[in-house]
Symmetry: C2
DNA sequence: CCAAAAGTGTTTGCTTTACACCCATGT
DNA sequence: ACATGGGTGTAAAGCAAACACTTTTGG
């Protein structure tokens, strides 16, 4: 990383937009930088990618080291190659976005590196490089994608209730949805299946648990919410 | 390109999937290679990208040299980084897809390099590298995109008739559409505007000409065809 | 028995689909 | 006048949206 400009090809990095959903809030993982450029500022987690590594492998490596989470949902987002995006020189970033569920997150809570923090998507601080653009692109993609692919489940536990799922959809999409219509639509499409058990210990009527139907063809189906 | 492996970063290329629509057929531009690897085989046009150039600039350069077409619709598709995708070593390709209209194509017909040819999308020969995968990805993207963004117009002339537009949609989507419903939907959404003039010299009733409504917000709107 | 949140059906309006006849032009 | 392909409206069905009351639990 020192003799940056001696390479004949642009340097390659990957940057990660990791979304998590906790306490009815959609959040993103940010990294507090310890070195220049943008020292002490916030950026997306990322890393240089070497000759022997694919971008998704590099992402897994970052996820494992920062979160102890090697296996979560990961998808290529876009490649950013503005010539001025990195003050050190020409760096091309292949950005990915990842979704992490509450359950997986709790299971490894202690392993999270202490220079990373979750920020609600409405309270993102100023970001270094072009990471604000990358973040915006990722959020837009997530919002579009949740309408026609079952990615919401990646942000919840294996078992979840309809109100939980609906809260998630509402916080991602940003508008309220009718409870009865929401439930009917998801069941009609075959997204979810009842497990048979219910919540317990709450001071009100228990909610039925559902799971995501993994038999479903991974095709597009519009939810029209 | 000779001391390929001496770089410390993977080499970067861009590959282009250029779609054209001629004679009611959607076609793709392929290049007949004059050198190894895949000598005399067909591939997508592409080029190495240097330190001083962005990917989209490299695409424009290829489009200009192969087609004499510097300004056509261009969009980043996906980044392909399989470690074995190029037999020469580690090469990462940021693929783009482009759409070229009949009119622009005719205007520069003579300038097309003689090692490139149009192939109907149903008659693609075997392709070198991972270009079959890139092509499939591009066609899938175009099919999805035409349903909610006005990209079809990029493949037609400035002025076009409803039957022309419908033929285009049918050849991209691969199924027939009701003539009356198609017309009504496009007019309702505000995609197109009548110009007032009509076709001439045909042996049947003239068709009204329309243009794409460029005032339309570039947002998503589902056509639900 | 009260508070809190979850479960459940029906009606209305809108969007989508299906469908057939007349019209303008050139020969 | 005929052959060719383009233009137009309506009715039926399916889908989405709006809406309120009953149920289960814990305190």
């Amino acid at each position: 990383m020192s003799d940056f400009h001696s390479y004949q090809n642009p340097a390659l990095t990957t940057d990660l937009v990791v979304f998590g959903y906790q306490g009815k809030t959609l959040s993103v993982l940010l990294l507090n930088r310890k070195s220049e450029p943008f020292k002490n500022g916030w950026t997306l987690p990322g890393a240089f990618v070497g000759l022997q590594e694919t971008f998704s492998e590099a992402c897994r490596r970052i996820l494992a080291s920062k979160l102890g989470l090697p296996s979560i949902y990961l998808e290529q987002l876009y490649t950013f190659d503005g010539p001025q995006r990195d003050p050190r020189g020409r760096v091309v970033s292949v950005a990915y976005f990842a979704l992490v569920s509450q359950g997986k997150l709790n299971a490894v809570a202690g392993q999270m590196a202490n220079d990373v923090r979750w920020f609600p998507v409405n309270e993102i601080p100023e970001l270094g490089f072009d990471h604000r653009l990358i973040f915006d692109t990722a959020l837009e993609r997530l919002r579009a994608k949740i309408r026609y692919q079952p990615v919401g489940f990646e942000l919840l536990d294996e078992k979840f209730t309809m109100p939980e799922l609906q809260d998630l959809y509402e916080s991602i999409l940003g508008f309220p949805i009718d409870r009865r219509n929401f439930r009917r639509k998801l069941l009609d499409v075959g997204f979810v299946q009842p497990t048979g058990d219910k919540t317990e210990g709450l001071q009100h009527r228990p909610a039925d648990y559902y799971t995501f139907n993994k038999q479903l063809h991974p095709q597009h189906f519009h939810l029209n919410l």
